[in-house]
Symmetry: C2
Subunit: 431 residues, 2 copies
């Protein structure tokens, strides 16, 4: 099921990885001290890009799918980390309701839901799956490609005044969202105060902004970099924001072009400083939402002026048909990693503060400066062969356990940024 | 390095394993609720015996050696569990002093120390090793069979009035004992109040008694069995104690014979109840201490009366030449497991509340009713192929992941018993 990975590790040796390797104790201590002050989200996945000269997160997902893509050998790590997370968040919980995305026909996604449910069951929770889909009006078994069956059940409000969320005959202690709430919080999920909702509702994309995440990440990266005496740019993707774009009406184009230009100038300066020969580029994408929609690679400000109708349409629409009006302009980090000649980027998975695995997202149809999370295109996950917690100083910095360790470090910095972001965006009554 | 294990799993199908498998949620919930009230020791290993009709712990070690015998694939589990343990016990710790046993020539043991140090280093601690051996007067590198070098350094008292324990230029936050203190607490380890000592000194064999452990275990087993509606005898080894034996002077022989007889009678009743054809036996061993010394298999009370000089000498002397005067008479649990025709018993390792792996202790020269932890004899550890946290209800109860799950459950019951035992034996000023 999971082919072994070797070819992804063909990048130039990263000084950064060596630096991490020499400072394992300092890094782990620093992280531990951070977790004394900040609580990590229940789970997350972080998309990384390794440019050889730079290793940075480009997206942090607080409702991770893809647990089915992790190396099954690392499953005990998931169970152990989930035990620790449950113990901290809701130690008395006996039952948990998992609320997935509304993708009934995406078998890969449903296999992820099944995997997640089985991890949670192994921590001792009774887990059932509550669907937001209007067509699920009774318990509905769905067959999965691996022969398993997933039972989707209709969500119900329960108890006096419908204060609790559950299923028929099931009033759970905790509700785990695997739905990123891109279209807002469905009514049935609102005003749930007697049960644990994990992660909190304000972690949804109706509230989250990538720019707020990367603002928090910049702080984390600068603090960490000071601690390790490295240039924070080596782990931090620079960015700008435009808050009032209307791609259809062509308003905000100037803001976009100005930001693209400013960012490209800053990148060029850094490339000169480090004698990097690559051509600088930026990624323009929706500030809210995910799923690789509405994403553009830009090498020059002129490219965002006078977009044709097709390009504007593509940029204007995010997940579930939502209009995009706020965009983030993010420094493009080329990826040097390839798997079987396909461009590859690592995705690291975490439960609580623990890295539990990861995989390579591989896209043979895309270049090193393009978004690889492209729906409908060929994309093959390739599980990390080993964990991210066993660096081996006796080996070269780019040996798999060491490169994976570096990935795990940067991913945990993004996790810490997400903690700060959620603290700051919490509504007054949840703070 | 670690051969795959299949042949050990030849025992009769255990109803108990099926029962565990059907109650994973209830078991994990029950354990979680217990950990809300009791703190597990930092680490431990539990020797189990699987009789086919009964699965029980026979020894619980709070200073486990043998980490080097675990499947290296499960190392990330050790690191993650150790992170969790460190975070709870001493979150601000940056440096840790590991105090091992005084076995300079036992390369297997020293390889365990090196493995343990490397697990702890990966959690972000600066780890150094402080030796109690008088001949270690300066930092002394010791070469290990795997090519590594272990640096043993002389322990020092530091600071005003020598209140702290450390090494030259090393004043650690925490001290981890991997020395079971069989001969008492060495002076240099006494009165350390400014640093974390893990596990606490009263976990040493100078204070511990197996009988107190198994008394606590009996409570745990009865509570758990009630919860699962099973007969506690299925997981609980019955026992008796004699507190005033002098094997040389032949005093206490009557107490021993009476206890042996009483216990054999109780076992016979149980065997009759379950229609078990095996011949009942008991194990007589020192109530304090470990290392498989001074252990006798007894099938009839007459065997402990009129012991010859050789037998008495053997029983009278424990680890480090200590006199044995208190003995526990424990129900013998035959082992049905074999590996390559050698008699085998599982040993399960835990860090904090997490099962992190295990192995089979295999002794081709010993019978199914004998102690297998016999120094000097052929004994080959065989790592568990998979973890103990991934039971698979789709497979038979005796499939490896399920059998290992059952082992992990019973081992955690012994861990819980150790928590109770340590709570109860804590000196007033530590309680």
């Amino acid at each position: 099921m999971v082919p072994h990975l070797t070819t992804a590790l063909t990048g130039p040796l990263l000084d950064l990885e060596r630096r991490f390797l020499e400072n394992i104790s300092a890094i782990e201590q620093w992280l531990r001290s951070q977790w004394l002050e900040h609580s990590p989200p229940f789970y997350s996945s972080v998309d990384l890009r390794n440019a050889g000269f730079k290793l940075a997160p480009v997206d942090t997902n607080l409702f991770p799918g893809g647990f089915n893509n992790l190396n099954p050998d690392l499953l005990p790590l998931c169970v152990q980390a989930a035990m620790s997370a449950v113990e901290k968040l809701c130690p008395e919980a006996k039952s948990l309701l998992l609320v997935p995305e509304n993708h009934t026909r995406n078998q890969f996604y449903l296999t992820n839901v099944a995997r997640l449910a089985s991890i949670l069951r192994l921590t001792g929770l009774n887990v059932r799956i509550g669907s937001l889909l209007p067509e699920i009006t009774a318990p509905t078994p769905v067959s999965l490609p691996d022969g398993q069956t997933l039972l989707l059940e209709p969500l119900r409000r329960l108890g006096p005044e419908g204060r609790r969320l559950g299923l028929d005959d099931f009033s759970p202690c905790a509700i785990l969202l695997n739905n990123d709430l891109s279209s807002g919080v469905p009514e049935i999920l609102q005003n749930v105060h007697e049960q644990w909702v994990i992660p909190p509702l304000h972690a949804g994309w109706h509230m989250r902004r990538k720019s707020r995440h990367f603002l928090a990440y910049r702080e984390v990266a600068e603090d960490f970099a000071r601690h390790l005496d490295i240039d924070p740019w080596l782990i931090n993707p620079d960015f700008g924001v435009c808050g009032q774009i209307d791609f259809h009406a062509r308003t905000g184009e100037e803001c976009l072009a100005a930001n693209v230009d400013m960012l490209l100038t800053r990148i060029r300066t850094k490339y000169k400083e480090y004698n990097i020969q690559s051509r600088p580029f930026v990624i323009v994408k929706a500030d809210a939402g995910t799923y690789g929609m509405g994403i553009m690679t830009v090498h020059d400000a002129s490219e965002v002026k006078g977009l044709n109708r097709r390009q504007r349409n593509k940029m204007a629409v995010g997940k579930e048909g939502l209009q995009v009006s706020e965009v983030i302009i993010q420094e493009g980090v080329p990826t040097v990693e390839t798997v079987n000649e396909g461009t590859a980027e690592p995705v690291v998975y975490m439960i609580d503060r623990y890295v539990v695995g990861g995989f390579y997202r591989v896209n043979t149809d895309r270049g090193i400066d393009e978004n690889l999370n492209a729906p409908g295109m060929h994309f093959s996950p390739l599980a990390f062969e080993t964990g991210c917690s066993l660096p081996d100083t006796a080996q070269a910095p780019d040996a798999p356990p060491n490169r994976f360790y570096a990935y795990g470090v940067v991913a945990r910095l993004a996790l810490l940024a997400a903690s700060l972001e959620l603290e700051r965006s919490a509504p007054a009554d949840e703070a």
